[in-house]
């Protein structure tokens, strides 16, 4: 496959209402592969003079992975990248469904949107035809209404749409972008960037084809995947239960956040279990493009709504983190977030934060405006989701995110904002999973498990860990030694996997190693990468993302976990007594990366080595 065949880069200037296009270059593919990686390179090149992430100059970059839309298993993903209004630094989000493959069928690898339209618009792309269409009639509509309205306006029920809801329009710092009604470019406030450009949606239709270099080998790979789904219990669990099964997995280790991370264990988690979700609410399983795992569901809450879903993160952030323990509230919250275009993790987190600091008397009445956020008040929480979306009452404060809100409140509220770089932490307590904790702290886009995702901390043997990383402690979730090295390795391999556009549930363990990935890339694209080269690409991507942050003034102080996790050991449950101090791991991580141990900055030698 030639780089040209991987797709074009489309530049859209919304201020000028103009656009231009060029093919991908060989050095771009070889250096950054695609998707998240190449998006990062574009952001690095185009954002040097940008001040405010909500200004017209911030480029909003949609990118598909090198394998998105191909025969590779679960090759469905796309990434949206920009400077984040939530963290102030590097930001991106990633989503599955069917939007990414359609971009590929239309012939585009990346769409780079700059400027700001004079009135609400949506981008309509159909193969070579690119149009900027009036969206004033769509502004204010939620994501479901928008999706339906564009399909009707274009007379095409098959057009793929990636859009924002009122939360993005209103610049809520953690607003998201939604495709296929419930799939989210969730994190980093990409919805707010899109809203700041007056861009309501991107609608794509493609009639092109993706040539597969060796179809017979591609069929072998798919057969192997079939075999794994039949034999491998972990894969089967994802395919039957999906991520709701993680409630029991995390709770059994005493690592599930409760009430804004005050606690990490639920004595009886049956009302929140994956089992109950399947039994009571799921109608059938759903899958993304070319996916054999079908981890998603179509569920119904009788008398309320039905839709695709449900993710573990949403269960916990709209559940135990805000003291709620019933599925109906969680499902209603999930539905609202999908339609408003809110990241469920950050929304739940902001509400949980409000509940805790209000308990401690830290929110003055002028911000509360009559609200009484209390743990367990499900109805109140659902009301807050609307208030956040429209920046009304207490929602105006919470729309800044917990960290942003804490900055406005002062008075020690900051201690209760469970964030890294301004982004809310996901629902795994880092005191109980120390390698994960380091991963959250150093992730380029703020608290995030997907950058490192060191799953090896619990599913490999020490012998295998020694073979791959050279030390056995990698498998011990309470150990500090070796985690710096582990996280660096995981981040590099994950960056590479992300740039291919495959779902992480495939690359989690099955296509984890670079050797395995190169055996996947060649038959599909015809491009040969060796394992070392691939690791280099991963390293290059991480360093490029880091340099965006360095330029924005981020240093070692930003690679930190909230003080609560050091000061307060987990009070009860299987991980009782554990806390976390990342300093030793961080030193080791910086050394392993070739970054200055005091500032966290990549050394000039490292940058030169990687060609940045």
């Amino acid at each position: 496959m030639t780089p040209e065949a991987a797709g074009s880069v489309l530049f859209v200037d919304l201020s000028e209402e103009s656009w231009s296009r060029r093919p991908l270059r060989a050095d771009e593919v070889k250096g950054y592969v695609g998707g998240r990686g190449l998006n990062a390179k574009f952001l690095y090149d185009l954002s040097e003079s940008v001040q405010d992430p909500l200004s017209p100059e911030n480029p909003l970059i949609f990118g598909v992975g090198l394998l998105t839309g191909s025969a590779a298993p679960s090759a469905c993903r796309y990434t949206v990248t920009a400077l984040s209004p939530l963290t102030g630094g590097f930001g991106d989000g990633n989503s599955g469904g069917f939007f990414g493959p359609e971009m590929r069928f239309a012939g585009y690898a990346h769409i780079i949107v700059s400027g700001r339209a004079r009135r609400p618009v949506y981008l309509h792309i159909e193969d070579d035809a690119v149009a900027i269409r009036d969206a004033s009639g769509l502004w204010g509509k939620d994501t479901w209404e928008t999706d339906g309205a564009i399909k009707r306006a274009l007379g095409d029920p098959e057009v793929q749409i990636s859009c924002i809801g009122p939360a993005g329009e209103n610049g809520v710092k953690f607003s998201c972008i939604i495709n296929n009604l419930t799939r989210a470019i969730g994190r980093c406030g990409m919805g707010a960037v899109m809203g700041s450009k007056n861009l309501k949606a991107v609608a794509v239709r493609g009639s092109g084809s993706v040539r597969i270099a060796h179809p017979d080998k591609a069929f072998e790979i798919l057969k192997e995947m079939r075999g794994m789904m039949a034999e491998d219990i972990s894969f089967k669990m994802f395919g039957t239960y999906g991520t709701p099964a993680l409630v029991d997995v995390y709770n059994s280790r005493g690592a599930i956040p409760v009430k804004n991370f005050q606690k990490a264990w639920i004595e009886d988690a049956r009302p929140l279990s994956g089992d109950l979700f399947i039994e009571k609410y799921s109608k059938k399983t759903k899958g993304c493009f070319n996916c054999m795992i079908h981890c998603s569901h179509f569920y119904e809450l009788e008398g309320s709504h039905k839709e695709e879903g449900l993710e573990y993160e949403s269960i916990v952030s709209l559940g135990p983190r805000i003291g709620v323990e019933d599925y109906p509230t969680i499902l209603k919250g999930n539905a609202l977030c999908n339609r408003y275009g809110l990241d469920t993790i950050s929304a739940g987190d902001a509400i949980g934060f409000a509940m805790e600091v209000h308990e401690k008397g830290l929110i003055p009445e002028k911000y509360l405006e009559g609200e009484n956020p209390s743990f367990g008040d499900g109805a109140g929480a659902l009301g807050l989701l609307e208030k956040i979306t429209y920046k009304k009452g207490l929602g105006r404060l919470l729309a800044e995110g917990a960290h942003g809100a804490a900055g406005i409140l002062g008075g020690g509220a900051g201690y209760y904002a469970m964030h890294v770089k301004g982004q809310a932490i996901i629902s795994a307590d880092p005191r109980a999973l120390r390698g994960w904790g380091l991963g959250f702290a150093v992730s380029s886009r703020g608290a995030d498990h997907l950058r490192a995702y060191p799953v090896v901390e619990y599913c490999f043997t020490p012998e295998k860990a020694e073979e791959i990383w050279g030390f056995r402690e990698a498998v011990d979730r309470s150990a500090y030694q070796g985690k710096g090295k582990l996280v660096k390795w995981c981040e590099d391999v994950r960056a590479l996997a992300d740039s291919l556009g495959l779902c992480k549930f495939v690359t989690r363990t099955a296509y984890l190693l670079p050797e395995q990935l190169s055996r996947l890339i060649e038959p599909v694209t015809g491009i040969a990468f060796d394992a070392k080269e691939l690791m280099r690409v991963g390293e290059r991507i991480n360093n490029t993302e880091k340099m965006v942050n360095v330029r924005r003034g981020f240093g070692r102080a930003h690679d930190a976990l909230p003080e609560r996790f050091t000061r307060e050991p987990i009070p009860e449950g299987p991980s009782a007594g554990m806390n976390i101090d990342i300093s030793q791991m961080l030193d080791e991580y910086y050394r392993e990366r070739g970054w200055d141990v005091n500032t966290g900055r990549p050394s000039p030698e490292k940058l030169a080595e990687l060609g940045i």
Partner: protein, 165 residues
């Protein structure tokens, strides 16, 4: 003669993943190209409906009856309905006549349809949930009868009439 096999679609098992479309176009053209797939998953995302639509290889094909050039024929091995591209004049009467939407018109205005992959259909081979299976026709209806009976049992239980155990 061997009992004929047919593709059986169970829409309750369809996840909407479109692997059937992908392996169909891949095996026929070497590309992932939904426009070349002989099977298409039609969706209503709001209602959670995913339906693979494909030629049902009718016993009395309406497409064959309306074709003015005799391009539609029958494969003696699979029993499937085939299009002879040399006879096809591209009038697309077959597309209009087909009651199930089983015929694809490609972007090059070629008329294509499921040929059962010569007796080893790829869609059935790769469908991850068994929503598409290639099975003896009679066996298929037996499966549907069993499903119907189970639904009846649930209904009877729900109405408290003491139904079947």
């Amino acid at each position: 003669m061997d009992q004929p096999s047919v593709l059986l679609i169970d829409i309750e098992k369809c996840t909407g993943c479109r692997i059937c479309e992908n392996v169909c176009s891949l095996s026929h053209t070497g590309c992932i190209d939904p426009g070349e797939s002989r099977i298409t998953v039609v969706k209503d995302e709001e209602a959670g409906i995913d339906i693979p639509v494909v030629c049902m290889q009718c016993e009395r094909p309406l497409c064959m009856e309306v074709c003015p050039s005799g391009a539609l024929g029958r494969d003696p091995d699979t029993g499937g309905v085939t299009i002879d591209p040399y006879r096809c004049i591209g009038c697309r009467m077959c597309v209009m006549a087909c009651p199930v939407g089983g015929i694809t018109v490609t972007k090059e205005k070629q008329v294509k349809k499921c040929d059962l992959c010569g007796g080893d259909p790829y869609c059935a081979k790769f469908c991850p949930t068994g929503a598409i299976v290639y099975q003896k026709a009679a066996k298929g209806s037996a499966g549907q009868k069993r499903k119907g009976a189970i639904k009846m049992i649930h209904l009877m239980h729900a109405q408290g009439s003491g139904g079947l155990p």
